[in-house]
């Protein structure tokens, strides 16, 4: 089934952001993938093929690009897609144990969806929130930070009841002009350019 057939204005809009050349047409690949993924939670082979023909490229290239980014899915995801950061900082803070706990509690492996359609899991690389490790991202919405086993259990319980708490830090994170990041609650995170002090020779 064709997804874009009745969305000509949308397609035209996406293509209009790129040069009107064969190379430009290929550049529209990512927004088109995003569009389908937003609608279905994943990009099926049929849709990938449709996108390939829209961009004038091959299904192989679409798969290549999709597989490069962990944000695109080739298989359906659950209502709550939990992405556990497994890069160094989170790993040091216990993300491996968190992952094991998560998959055994939910009884789900990457690529699967739980029977009730609620959960799917994925390991991802650094989410850029190392200061609050370990970090779990839900869908595209935001981060749960400092996820201990107890916090994990609370979150799962709430999601099972379909009343999950809002993420600690929604995506996109607010980044102010001075480079200061703010959490959803308005708390300051990390440093800003104004906090940086020049190194003096004697200290080095």
């Amino acid at each position: 089934m064709s997804y874009f057939a009745d969305k000509q204005p949308l397609v035209a809009d996406i293509f209009s952001r790129y040069p009107a050349s064969p190379q430009g047409r290929r550049s529209a690949l990512m927004p088109l993938l995003r569009e389908v993924q937003n609608a279905f939670g994943y990009v099926s082979e049929t849709h990938a093929a449709e996108i390939a023909s829209l961009c004038g490229t091959t299904a192989t290239e679409v798969r290549s690009v999709m597989s490069f980014y962990s944000t695109y899915h080739t298989v359906p995801t659950g209502k709550y897609h939990l992405q556990v950061c497994s890069t160094l900082m989170c790993a040091l803070a216990g993300s491996d144990e968190l992952w094991d706990h998560l998959v055994s509690t939910l009884d789900v492996q990457p690529g699967e969806v739980t029977g009730d359609g609620r959960f799917s899991v994925q390991k991802v690389e650094c989410l850029g929130s190392c200061g609050t490790a370990p970090v779990v991202q839900i869908g595209d919405e935001g981060y749960y930070e400092n996820v201990t086993r107890a916090k994990c259990d609370r979150l799962i319980k709430a999601m099972r009841a379909d009343i999950p708490p809002p993420p600690d830090n929604p995506v996109p994170v607010t980044v102010r002009e001075d480079g200061r990041q703010m959490t959803a609650k308005g708390e300051r995170v990390g440093a800003s350019i104004h906090d940086l002090a020049p190194l003096t020779g004697s200290e080095a």
Partner: protein, 724 residues
């Protein structure tokens, strides 16, 4: 442009890459991802060098170093080693290789260790062992010791990308040659990297690789990741007799290397001929060699009491003498296949002259030739417009299709250095912009038509006049083709079977007029691999003679390597490599050698003389046509001038004025003078993959074909094990 490599100064043309500068200086640098005919991308990071350049002051003078007369421009070195394949050498640049730089030697050894981190040590079982760039370079540039005390990456070891190509995922070093090859050369983007980092593997989503030119990736893969499935596990590299020769399955005449082992043809790989096939061959040429070692006729057969019986050459000659005793030698029809060599052709011509026979023919051939300036393969690649008239290049001359694709991406031909073709030509780029507007295709649909900017469809079935569609254009597209030809500076017109089979009376003049008017060069694809060469010999039916089409009316016939499925009225001698349908009807069957086992000369579609060399294949008592004709002459009691290769070559010198001894690797284009033409009464349908060429499953790679001698049966036979 002066460049200093390891202290040696040399003069190089502008645009030379640093890697070519190193090789031009006679020094060495290891590399995996660079390839002469592919874009340089710097993926493998092996070709590291130290480099530095002089720098200019704001006033345009050089920043100097030293005092007075000893002052020299100061060299500013890059702070780290650089990849030589993606860097352009510039005026005054200094380069240090591992031979003179500790830093380079250490970085290369480190890079090698990194590459080996994800590569299994399969050398003892890997088909690439003994010819592997990674193996050689690890020996020359690696640390020589392993620090890996852990289990390395594992991935699928027998991952078929198609029937012909099998991928060992854990051996892949991610050089991207195969991916770039498909994108850049045949223009089929069917391979790519999937996943990333240590999980990356090569795959296709298109349900297999397109047949046509897929085999080339087995040649260019620097490791044993992509293997020719037809030849897999057939032998080790050092066991093969490597014989460089010329492919004669179609009129392109690609340079190939025939690898034989124990008298069997096991593998064919591409050779390099910059003028003809660059470094590529088609799948038929590579994988369609099974017939050369399967079911060969190894001795003569004669018919006794209605049945073919094995015999000796002497008895076969006696049988011919007896069988032809009451035939007028002038009535003996002589027919030969168009892939016969020039030497064989001239031998047949000599015998025909001696016997006074008028029924001489070669097949396949077209009834006309073209008298217009002939285009070479390089002309096609560097043309600014190509018009293809009634040809399906995929069937008629596959590698010509690649040269047309080369034209579409700008006709960039890598320069040549004393060390060979440039290793990295920086003008070649990934995902090259193509110029479909330079290609017009008139005629039925073909693979190449999909790349053409202008398409004029005239269906074969409707008996459409293709040349007419071009000369008297009636549609907008047809007018556009004519305009393309007239406006171009170096146009080429390619003529194929659909126009050459049934030419009108005015055909030859129309073509030369067209060439004259537009300045186009013309490449008429011959019907057979050596039809071009044979057409310069008088091998067509003479006045009152019977052509190939009327072979069955001949009172007696000698048929060499042709299988019309019928025999002459009277005594019939067949000379062939296999017991064909025609051979089964013959009175005497003489064993022939294939073109892989021949010495001789063929003339390709450009008119280039190319040498055939003999591979070490087991063909029993088989003989080429020259020697077979000498036997026939003996049976007829005449003494022919040509009794072997030497005398045939002497006669060729006399007859065509060419010296075919010691032809250079890449061949020479030489005029062969007048052509001999005659109507054929037959239509030739080009068909590259004949039935006998289709590979049979390789018994050694498919466990179902394993025959296990119970005496030697080991407990693990048939059970999963080894690297599964």
């Amino acid at each position: 442009m002066k460049v200093v490599v390891d202290g040696h100064e040399l003069d190089l043309p502008a645009g030379t890459s640093a890697i070519d500068a190193v090789f031009a200086a006679g020094r060495d640098v290891p590399y995996f991802c660079a390839h002469s005919y592919l874009s340089p991308v710097g993926a493998c990071r092996m070709c590291l060098i130290e480099s530095g350049s002089p720098r200019k002051n704001p006033d345009g003078t050089f920043v100097m170093e030293g005092e007075g007369d000893a002052a020299k421009p100061k060299i500013f070195w890059f702070p780290k080693p650089m990849a030589a394949c993606t860097m352009q050498a510039t005026e005054g640049m200094h380069i240090r290789t591992a031979a003179t730089s500790e830093v380079v030697a250490k970085s290369q050894a480190g890079m090698m260790e990194f590459t080996l981190l994800n590569h299994p040590l399969d050398c003892p079982t890997c088909d690439k062992g003994g010819a592997c760039e990674l193996q050689d370079r690890a020996f020359e540039y690696g640390y020589g010791a392993s620090r890996f005390g852990f289990d390395r990456r594992h991935a699928d070891k027998h991952y078929p990308l198609s029937d012909f190509i099998i991928l060992d995922q854990e051996r892949c070093i991610h050089c991207k040659r195969c991916v770039r090859y498909f994108e850049e050369v045949p223009g089929q983007e069917v391979l790519d990297f999937i996943e990333r980092g240590g999980h990356t593997f090569i795959d296709t989503e298109e349900g297999g690789l397109p047949v046509g030119f897929q085999g080339n990736i087995a040649d260019i893969c620097p490791v044993g990741a992509l293997l020719d499935n037809v030849a897999r596990f057939r032998g080790r590299n050092w066991e093969y007799d490597h014989n460089p020769t010329t492919c004669t399955l179609c009129p392109v005449g690609c340079s190939i290397t025939v690898d034989a082992r124990n008298g069997r043809l096991e593998r064919i790989v591409a050779g390099e001929n910059r003028e003809v096939n660059e470094a590529w061959i088609c799948d038929a040429g590579r994988f369609g060699h099974g017939f050369a070692s399967e079911g060969r006729l190894t001795g003569p057969l004669v018919r006794v009491n209605g049945e073919l019986r094995e015999t000796t050459w002497d008895d076969a000659i006696a049988a011919m003498r007896q069988g032809l005793a009451y035939t007028n030698p002038a009535d003996l029809g002589l027919y030969l296949g168009s892939d016969s060599t020039l030497e064989e052709g001239v031998a047949l011509e000599a015998l025909a002259g001696l016997l006074g026979t008028r029924s001489v023919d070669h097949w396949p051939r077209y009834p006309v030739g073209v008298n217009a300036p002939a285009a070479t393969m390089t002309d096609v690649a560097t043309a600014d417009a190509v018009v293809i008239l009634g040809a399906d290049l995929g069937e008629e001359a596959p590698v010509l299709e690649l040269r047309v694709m080369e034209m579409l991406r700008g006709g960039i031909i890598p320069p040549e250095f004393p060390h060979g073709t440039a290793i990295a030509d920086l003008r070649l780029v990934e995902r090259p912009a193509r110029h479909p507007e330079r290609l017009a295709v008139i005629g039925p649909d073909s693979r190449l038509a999909g790349h053409a900017g202008i398409r004029v469809t005239v269906e074969r079935a409707s008996g459409g006049d293709l040349l007419g569609a071009l000369l008297n254009p009636r549609t907008d597209e047809a007018r556009a083709v004519l305009k393309l030809l007239t406006d171009a500076k170096q146009p080429v017109v390619i003529l194929g079977a659909d126009v050459l089979n049934s030419p009108s009376g005015a055909f030859a003049t129309q073509i030369s007029d067209l060439a004259m008017r537009t300045g186009a060069k013309v490449l008429a694809i011959p019907a057979g691999p050596n039809s071009n060469g044979l057409s310069h010999l008088n091998l067509v039916p003479r006045m009152g003679g019977l052509g190939y089409a009327r072979l069955s009316d001949a009172p007696a016939a000698f048929i060499s390597r042709l299988d019309p499925g019928k025999r002459a009225r009277g005594f019939t001698v067949v000379h062939d490599t296999h017991l064909t349908d025609t051979a089964r009807l013959a009175d005497v069957v003489l064993p022939a050698v294939t073109n892989y086992e021949k010495r001789g000369t063929i003339v390709n579609l450009e008119g280039r003389l190319l040498p055939l060399r003999q591979s070490a294949l087991n063909a029993g008592e088989a003989a080429d046509l020259t020697r077979t004709l000498a036997a026939l002459a003996e049976a007829l009691g005449v003494r022919t001038k040509v009794r072997g290769l030497k005398s045939a070559q002497a006669l060729l010198r006399e007859r065509l004025g060419v010296n075919v001894e010691n032809l250079p690797e890449s061949g020479v284009i030489q005029s062969l003078g007048q052509r001999h033409e005659a109507p054929t009464g037959l239509r030739h349908t080009p068909n590259l993959w004949t039935e006998r060429m289709v590979p049979k499953p390789n018994p050694s790679s498919d466990p179902r074909h394993l025959t296990i001698d119970p005496r030697w049966e080991l407990p693990m036979a048939g059970q999963p094990g080894g690297d599964d």
